[in-house]
Structures are given as C-alpha cells and as structure tokens.
C-alpha cells in the first residue's frame, strides 16, 4: 500500500521492565513496526501528564506508557500511579476531542520481549485505524513566559 498512514508513536518505557523487554525483543530479533519510538524513563511513574499532553500537542498520533507488571514495579507502585495518570489524561483527551484511545498504559516484565513486539504492532495498527492526530499539520503556538 503506497499511501498507508504511518503514525508516529512515542512510547515511554521504564528502564527496569519495558525498556529491557524492548532490548529483549531486539536480541530475539522480533520484528515490529518502526513507528514506535522509545523514550527511556527510570520508572513509568516518572511520566508526567504534561509529557503525554505535549507529545500530542506536537503531533504524536499515539502515545503509550509501558511499565512493569503490577506488583513488580522496581519502585513499588510507580506503575500503578502511571496507570492512574494515564486514565486521567485519557479523559482529558476525550474532553478536548483528541480521543483518549490514542493513549494507553501497558505493563510487561523484562523478559517479555515478545509482548513488547506484539504491543508495538498492535498499538501501531490501532492508531493506524484511528487516523492522524487531528492537531497535526498546524504550527504549535505555546508562548512560555519567563516567569512561568
């Protein structure tokens, strides 16, 4: 397909589980769509709501936060917090008509290279169906004040 929509996806991955799973997918040579770009964070609990919002504002078509399995967080419950935060931002995205379904929280353990690859494929497919982020192609306009 020549004109297939190729979404841009940002994935916040925690160092201990999902980032390692991504590396694992690499050493297992599991192929997945190149649309997913990983940003490493120490813990999914580090991912601020504003990081997610800014990703969409700047034109990401989809974002997911990938943390450890529940109960396995290296920092006790950072993943649970991240999950709640993702829920909050999903609602906000729904409210402004961007669509909360463009954002997901996913959990996996360090050993789940296959799940990482599958998630990347599934999520890319899902966002492909959703279509492009509606704010894309318009120049952003944030003016940040020095005092802010």
């Amino acid at each position: 397909m020549a004109n297939r929509f190729e979404p841009v996806i940002a994935a916040f991955c925690c160092h201990y589980c999902s980032y390692t799973a991504a590396d694992m997918a690499g050493s297992m040579r599991l192929s997945y769509p190149p649309n997913v770009h990983i940003i490493r964070v120490p813990c999914s609990g580090k991912v601020d709501a504003i990081h997610i919002m800014k990703a969409f504002e700047k034109g990401a078509d989809g974002v997911y936060v990938a943390g450890c399995l529940e109960g396995d967080c290296h920092f006790k419950n950072g993943n649970v917090r991240a999950g709640r935060r993702v829920e909050y931002v999903k609602k906000l995205l729904d409210e402004i008509g961007i669509g909360g379904e463009r954002l997901e929280m996913i959990t996996m353990s360090a050993g789940m290279g296959e799940l990482f690859a599958r998630t990347a494929s599934d999520f890319t497919e899902k966002i492909r169906k959703e279509g492009p982020n509606p704010v894309k192609s318009l120049p952003g306009a944030a003016v940040r004040s020095a005092a802010g």
Binding site: L92, P134, G140, G148
Partner: protein, 222 residues
C-alpha cells in the same frame, strides 16, 4: 485550605472561544496544594486548550504564568508585564484570585478555569474533604473539635437526626455522621455530660448571612 477542581473543558473552551491570545494564570497556594491550579495544571490546561482549538484550525496563543498568590495585589501586579496584547485572562486560582485580577485589570475579561469548592483538609493523597464553612463563630470547642455546621448534612447543632446508621449519614454511606463522630470524641474526652446542654439557635450574622464580611486589624491596617 481552599479546594477547587478544574471546570469541564467545554465550559473553559466556551469562555476563551472568541480569544486569540490568552494569559493563563495559576496560583502557587491552595490550588497548587489541591492539584487544581498550580504550575503543572497550568501546563496541562494550556496544552489541552491549544490542542482543542488546533483541531479546528485555530491557533490559540497561551502565555502561562503562575503567581505566588493570586489573592494579593502585589503578586497580581506581576501580570502587568504580561497582560498587554492578550484578549483575556484565564485564572486557575480560587474565586479570590479571579476577583483580584478582575479588580486590578478593569479592561480585561477574566474567566475562572476552576470551580472553587470548599475549605477542607486532605484526608490522604488526592482526597480532600470539607471541614469548615467559615461561619465566623466557631463552636468546635463545644463539639469535640468536629464541626456540625460543615460536616452535618443538616447543620444540626443539638445531636444527630434519626437517619444515621452505623455512624454514617443518611444522605450517603460515604459520609460520616458528624454527630456520631462528635459523640465518640466527647466520650473519649469525658465530655458526655455537656452534650445535654441545649445549644441555642445561632446568630448567623457572623456567617455570610450578615452580608459580605471583612476583617480589619486596626493595628495593622494603618
């Protein structure tokens, strides 16, 4: 602390719809503490608003700024540097802050981005509950430190109504019966006896019912 929560996006978007440039002002006091209008929420709202309008092709310019306290004129004065050229101010502070900006900048529309709710305490992370109605005539000394005005659904001053069950208020099982709490506390403090003294009808003038209130400390207010 004064608690507040963000208004629905639709309402906020309705306010700023006609604007091209707005100044979004947070406050680093109560609304920061109750996670409704601090720097972080300002950033989130700014981003959300820009996206919401960008979707329909409109570019909304948002200047973000968070004041130390929006209810003090000196801090509000900081806006002077920023306010030129904006069509409106969107405030994430409590009603005091919104009004302070409105007072200072007569020619700028000011819109609230949060609903100011109540004076409360945080029960735990992320949960705030009403504790005080600012009635101006505190009875806490007689009620074991638990306020029947703020915490009894019927503001009863002489004991629980007949609707409390298992320590919970009749309006919802999530709401503690204030009088149940008061009674437990009185027992713990050995104040049972004083319960039977009838608390007379109150003078509500100290509350809002006497008109808008003001505190003037003559020694301070030169």
């Amino acid at each position: 602390m004064i608690t507040a929560e963000r208004k629905p996006m639709e309402e906020i978007m309705g306010y700023v719809e006609p604007c091209q440039r707005i100044l979004l002002v947070g406050c680093n006091e109560c609304v920061t503490v109750c996670a409704a209008g601090g720097r972080k929420e300002v950033g989130l709202l700014s981003s959300a608003l820009q996206m919401a309008f960008m979707k329909s092709g409109k570019v909304l310019q948002v200047k973000e700024l968070t004041l130390e306290r929006q209810c003090d004129p000196e801090y509000v004065e900081e806006l002077v540097r920023e306010i030129d050229g904006v069509d409106a101010v969107l405030s994430m502070a409590c009603g005091c802050g919104v009004q302070e900006i409105a007072r200072r900048f007569r020619d700028k529309p000011v819109f609230p981005a949060v609903n100011t709710s109540f004076m409360g305490a945080s029960e735990r992370q992320g949960v705030w509950a009403e504790r005080c109605q600012g009635c101006g005539n505190c009875v806490l000394g007689l009620t074991g430190g638990i306020c029947p005005i703020a915490r009894c659904s019927k503001r009863l001053l002489n004991g629980p109504c007949g609707g409390s069950t298992g320590g919970k208020c009749e309006i919802s099982p999530d709401v503690d019966c204030a009088w149940h709490l008061i009674w437990e506390r009185m027992k713990a403090l050995g104040m049972e006896k004083s319960y039977e003294q009838v608390m007379p009808a109150r003078d509500w003038r100290t509350s809002r019912d006497g008109g808008p209130r003001k505190i003037v400390r003559e020694d301070l207010a030169l």
